[in-house]
């Protein structure tokens, strides 16, 4: 993993967030979610946005997807400013209802490709291929309501990957899963990355998940979100969870997030 990182470190960033301030309106307030946030993502990186609830990490991700426009700064993908949502930045959501209930699993995965002009046969092959990668080939003809939460998330990941986007955006995709399923899904995601090497932006509020999933972590301060640190952790994965290094890093991040307050994890 270190090698993959070193190879791309010198090239131009794939996606860059440059001084982005994001605001949204509630009935009473104009809320500033993030303040002048900047960071880059290189190809093949697994970048994790980590921060406490309400630090605007999901808001940044939505802006990267094109659902929100920065009031200041800009987001560029391959040197082109992001204007709106599009299939070059497929997104996996936290909610289980992101699959289309009226389509079978296979049709769900194939649909975004069909929308973007890929032929039926081609789309079907790629869909089945993607489903095989997340071990759901058996359920290709099932409807989403027959699947468990974890399986639905795997379909959503397959759907996003089959599209071969420039960057895969994941918004706390495992937050609504039980702990055991979540561990399994993390393992699978890392395995997939080993196979394909997609570029990933992953939002989470779990320090442990961030260290396991990420090759690089952007730590955001509490509301309004600002970049507190960027940390390399490609050398720490699921197998290193018990290592002193892992504990040292999670301790360090926890210290950054909570500024030395004594917070029980």
């Amino acid at each position: 993993m270190d090698q993959a990182l070193a190879k791309t470190a010198s090239s131009a960033p794939l996606l860059s967030v440059d001084g982005v301030t994001l605001q949204y309106k509630t009935p009473d307030h104009l809320v500033t979610a993030t303040y002048r946030v900047s960071f880059d993502i290189q190809r093949h990186e697994r970048l994790v946005l980590l921060g406490p609830s309400g630090c605007g990490k999901s808001t940044i991700l939505k802006a990267m997807a094109g659902f929100l426009h920065p009031v200041e700064g800009r987001i560029t993908l391959k040197d082109r400013v992001v204007e709106g949502p599009g299939p070059d930045r497929m997104m996996v959501f936290q909610e289980f209802d992101q699959l289309l209930p009226w389509k079978t699993v296979e049709q769900n995965v194939a649909y975004p490709m069909r929308v973007n002009g890929i032929g039926a046969q081609d789309a079907k092959e790629r869909a089945l291929d993607a489903l095989a990668k997340v071990n759901l080939s058996k359920f290709a003809d099932a409807y989403p309501h027959m699947l468990s939460g974890g399986m639905k998330q795997r379909v959503a990941i397959a759907r996003a990957m089959a599209m071969k986007p420039d960057v895969l955006l994941m918004d706390e995709p495992y937050a609504a899963l039980d702990a055991l399923t979540r561990r399994k899904m993390q393992e699978e995601l890392l395995q997939l990355w080993d196979d394909i090497g997609f570029t990933l932006v992953f939002v989470t509020h779990s320090i442990e998940e961030a260290v396991v999933i990420g090759s690089r972590i952007v730590v955001l301060s509490p509301h309004p979100g600002q970049v507190r640190a960027e940390i390399n952790c490609a050398h720490l994965g699921l197998n290193e969870r018990a290592s002193p290094e892992f504990a040292e890093l999670t301790g360090r991040i926890s210290h950054m997030l909570f500024d030395g307050q004594n917070v029980a994890h």
Binding site: K62, D97, P112, Y143
Partner: protein, 293 residues
């Protein structure tokens, strides 16, 4: 742990021997024939129908006034004659044609209105104002006006049906669109769907349970409105519908045929509601797990 503030009682551990299922007798005893029969809804309803028919027959014979209350058997005979002579099917087909024309025009306008309503704020204001104004207005109340505008005949009927279908369907469609989850909308937009493709690709199927409910309500309104309208002034260019058949038979005091006509109205309503819409539901919303069956 032994020194908590709440002393736990010391209790012995126990293990039991479990009786083998075989020795308990029949664990899954099959239901008797009558128990299975009673569990079948169709059978229960069939029994009710037979009882009603029996009571009807007995009361009519006891009353013995065929001009105002024919017996069940007379009614069946009139029904058979009506079908054999081809009058009821002909009348029914006139009614159904009018209905289908009005229903689909109503649906089309509803779809256009709702699409405009979800894509612009002005459209939304228009739709909510119109539905609030016209939904409480019984379609049949527009009949005099329709007659004035379109004259005696099918166009007037179609106008009234369109009115009865349009608002119910538009209201349901619109609330269905509004209830489509934000996640599904965002998912659709990341696929690159916009405008009409977004409406047809995401909004309509996602709102289908509500749309189907609207279609059912619209159908029920249209059917009742149409029969009533035909009763009031049924003939259109010499060709009346089912409502006209009932009216006509009343004028000739052929009461058994009046009953036969009413039974046909009920039967058609039932078939479309219980068979056609059920079928659509089974193929769509229940298959997709969007509605329990």
């Amino acid at each position: 742990m032994s020194q908590t503030r709440f002393p736990l009682p010391l209790r012995p551990e126990i293990e039991f021997d479990v009786t083998a299922p075989k020795e308990l007798g029949d664990v899954a005893k099959p239901l008797s024939f009558f128990e299975k029969l009673a569990a079948n809804g169709a059978v229960r309803r069939g029994v009710i129908l037979i009882v009603v028919a029996l009571i009807w027959e007995m009361y009519a014979r006891f009353l013995d006034r065929p001009l105002s209350f024919p017996t069940f058997l007379d009614t069946l005979e009139a029904l058979r004659d009506g079908f054999a002579s081809g009058i009821i099917p002909a009348r029914l087909s006139v009614t159904l044609q009018t209905l289908v024309i009005g229903y689909f025009i109503g649906l089309t306008i509803a779809a256009v209105l709702t699409t405009v309503a979800v894509t612009s704020r002005l459209g939304m204001d228009l739709l909510s104002t119109f539905t609030a104004m016209f939904n409480p207005l019984p379609a049949i109340a527009l009949l005099p006006l329709a007659l004035l505008w379109f004259g005696l005949g099918r166009p007037s009927l179609v106008f009234v049906i369109v009115h009865s279908v349009l608002w119910a369907v538009a209201l349901n469609m619109h609330s269905g669109f509004l209830s489509v989850s934000e996640t599904l909308r965002m998912a659709g937009r990341t696929f690159g769907l916009k405008g009409l493709r977004f409406v047809f690709g995401i909004l309509i199927p996602a709102a289908f349970p509500a749309i189907l409910a609207g279609l059912k309500i619209g159908w029920a309104f249209a059917w009742r409105t149409l029969i009533a309208a035909e009763l009031v002034f049924g003939v259109s260019s010499g060709q009346g519908g089912l409502g006209w058949y009932i009216f006509e038979k009343r004028n000739t005091l052929d009461t058994a045929s009046v009953f036969a006509g009413l039974l046909t109205v009920m039967a058609v309503g039932l078939i479309i509601e219980a068979v056609i819409f059920r079928l659509i539901e089974a193929k769509t919303v229940r298959r997709w797990g969007m509605q329990r069956g």
